[in-house]
């Protein structure tokens, strides 16, 4: 029992540190691409508003990126400190993938981000734009490699087992492109774009609600964000559905938990909209369901049989209530995003994008929705993988470090205390940057502040006279 507690605490610690970390890369991936689009539009059209927006969001990007860096360093050690048996056994397969993740992140950080933040004054427009594009590509590379690790853990392939009980690589191609990887990668990158689009839309909506429709930057920002949500939200629903079908093929127990299907349904399974799953009683209480709809979604046939958790040994069940609810939160938010995109479309067609207050209130309230959906989605897929770390072949209880519960509990408390303080301050500073209006020369360079080559960029690196505006 003491061992089980240590396992649960180790899982809680990983979930906590990972949950804090993931929101920053999710934001950075989308924002880096947005910055590349803004700079590209500026170069193509020469319109000042795009450059202003670029500089405005670059400051926010720098703070978010910094918090991603400090929380990311922690993650590279979490595997060894809390999951040492997993590290030993899976290290020959996932270690190299993680090393590639580190090197691509490192590469981006030590190099092109520095050039991007130096400003055009030093390297010229074309080289600067190249750096911006490479930073955007770098964030995608990072996502690529870390998702190969996660996907391999979900749907392991291309490996053999050696005499020491380690998973060893047999075919790197199969390892990198494991069965769930393409779906997970597309789903995550779209999620990052949506998350960023919703944040940008909310910032635009905030300034519009405060009566700043006279500001071109605010209108452009809001219009671009609504356009992105309109296009990406339906794509994401489509990608999520494809990902779900892939999961049904490779991890059926996870889908059973998502659907709340404790029983098998030989003649078409209902779609449970809501209910209270009871793991011990193996039933969903107070459920509201639509007959046969689940079979239609998952099997594209009303009467297709669907197996339930009763076909899976109980020892291999994931915690159903967590998976069931986190999945519904993600899907619910996804449809609210679709609604926002359509609302924005109607407003755009009527030429009222900058005028409709209900639209702005809706967009503002959806500002954090992307982050919540990302966390809920990761909860679904990670908790749904339980009770395994490497699905079907390595149990979570057999992966954990040989540490007592007090050690893990103590470090978890320390992480909680420091992360909450530090990230609350960081979010406060980011919100303060967002509450300023995007216009030219809003903050004069403060001579005391430093220029940085990488990672962190305060004002001077990107304000007129020191960066993008040579000669001012």
């Amino acid at each position: 029992m003491a061992h089980l507690d240590a396992v649960l605490l180790a899982r809680a610690q990983f979930a906590f540190t990972m949950g804090f970390h993931i929101v920053f890369p999710a934001f950075s991936i989308g924002l880096a691409s947005y910055l590349a689009v803004l700079e590209g539009l500026w170069l193509a059209t020469g319109r000042q508003v795009y450059l202003d927006l670029f500089k405005y969001w670059l400051k926010i990007f720098a703070v978010g990126f910094a918090m991603g860096v400090v929380s990311g360093v922690v993650m590279s050690y979490q595997f060894g400190t809390n999951w040492s048996v997993f590290s030993d056994k899976a290290g020959p397969v996932v270690g190299p993938l993680m090393a590639y993740e580190v090197m691509s992140a490192f590469f981006l950080e030590a190099g092109f981000l520095g050039v991007m933040l130096f400003g055009m004054g030093r390297v010229g427009k074309v080289l600067h734009y190249l750096a911006t594009l490479l930073v955007a590509a770098g964030t995608l590379f990072s996502a690529f490699w870390i998702l190969t690790v996660n996907s391999w853990m979900q749907t392991p392939a291309g490996y053999a087992t050696n005499a020491q009980g380690q998973f060893v690589p047999a075919d790197w191609w199969q390892i990198v492109f494991s069965p769930s990887f393409p779906y997970r990668f597309v789903h995550m990158v779209l999620a990052a774009y949506l998350t960023t689009g919703l944040v940008i839309g909310a910032v635009g909506a905030w300034h519009l609600l405060r009566g700043r429709r006279d500001q071109e930057g605010v209108r452009v920002m809001f219009g671009m964000a609504m356009g992105l949500v309109l296009v990406v939200a339906p794509l994401q629903i489509f990608a999520g559905d494809a990902h779900g079908l892939n999961t049904l093929e490779h991890q059926p127990a996870k889908v059973m938990a998502m659907e709340g299907h404790f029983e098998s349904h030989p003649n078409g399974a209902p779609l449970v909209l809501f209910g209270l799953p009871d793991q011990d009683a193996a039933t969903v209480r107070y459920k509201v369901e639509v007959p046969k709809l689940s079979s239609l979604i998952l099997k594209h046939s009303l009467d297709a049989p669907l197996a339930g958790l009763d076909s899976v040994p109980r020892a291999n069940w994931p915690p159903v209530p967590v998976v069931f609810w986190s999945f519904r939160i993600m899907v619910g938010l996804g449809f609210l995003m679709l609604g926002l995109g359509l609302f924005g479309l109607v407003a755009r067609l009527k030429g009222k994008l900058a005028d409709w207050r209900p639209l702005h209130l809706y967009a503002l309230s959806m500002g954090p929705a992307g982050f919540v959906a990302v966390l809920a989605g990761w909860t679904t897929t990670e908790v749904g993988r339980q009770p395994f770390t490497v699905y079907g072949v390595l149990r979570t209880a057999d992966s954990v470090s040989p540490l007592g519960a007090p050690a893990v509990a103590g470090s978890l408390a320390a992480f909680a205390a420091i992360y909450l303080a530090v990230f609350a301050a960081g979010v406060f500073y980011i919100l303060r940057l967002m509450s300023a209006l995007p216009h030219l020369g809003e903050s004069g360079p403060s001579p005391a502040e430093p220029v940085r080559t990488a990672g962190l960029a305060p004002g001077p690196a990107i304000t007129p006279g020191h960066g993008l505006q040579p000669g001012e």
Partner: protein, 337 residues
Amino acid sequence: MSLLPFDLPTIWAFIVAFAVFAYVVLDGFDLGVALLFPFCPERRDRDVMMNSVAPVWDGNETWLVLGGGGLFAAFPLAYAVLMPALYAPLIAMLLGLVLRGVAFEFRWRTERARPVWDIAFTGGSLVAALGQGIALGAVLQGVSVSGRAYAGGWWDWLSAFSLLTGAAVVCGYALLGATWLVMKTGGELQIRAQRLARPFALATLGFIVTVSLATPFLEEAYWQRWFAWPGIVLTVPVPLAVAGVALFLLRSLADAHDYKPFVLSLMLFFLCFVGLGVSIWPNIVPGRISIWQAAAPDESQVFVLVGTAILIPIILTYTAYAYWVFRGKVDPEHGYH
């Protein structure tokens, strides 16, 4: 057995060692500068001190991730044994690094809370340096291994020896920080840094001697390695070189030289690192696990080696470029402009 004309685990041992050494000296002076904040209470001095490392600190810190990531990829067994063995000091180090990392950014974003972030900057750096030094001592004194896992308790790292190495690393980083400031600043601050560098240099040398005297008594293997033939051929030149570098260092400080003290301090660190390597080689967990036992299969090591061989030179070029751009003294009036 291997189709390759060279020994992969040896190559990887040198790559990981290089990453760790790069981390120690590069982040060493960043952390060291923060450790000197209590000796420099004026806001203006602190601004300059922080500016002197601000452009490079997070590139420096990434070597720590590369060291950990390289260890995981190339020697997963060592990673799996050492991380739980060093649990408390490593977690403390990571949290310390979080605090000092965000302090770089947050300190400039607030007037009111600036003293708080100054404390976070110094306190976080102190905890990180102490954690690293304690981890070093804990590895040197030996960790208990059973099968393929760490077999000790979660307080095993704590000993008089690990506290000694912890203090030694803190002191050594302060020396790096002080000599860095001698090189990068001028005026009153430079004079203050020179005054600080001398006692930290003497204390660092004292720690080097003490740790060196204590190490052979930790394990029979160290004694054998150090004082028995042929190990003695390798071990004797190291202390002699340390003594030589120490003399030059003290003289360059007395001469108030600009960059020599920093370079000589780096050499001191390098010699200590070589000494450690000679003591531990070819083990990766001293006395327990060799680099060949810990190595991932060739397929894994080759797969990462390809990327490493391409990316590390590029990273080094960029790093060198960044230092070149920010060469010279920090201008207290205009930052770097």
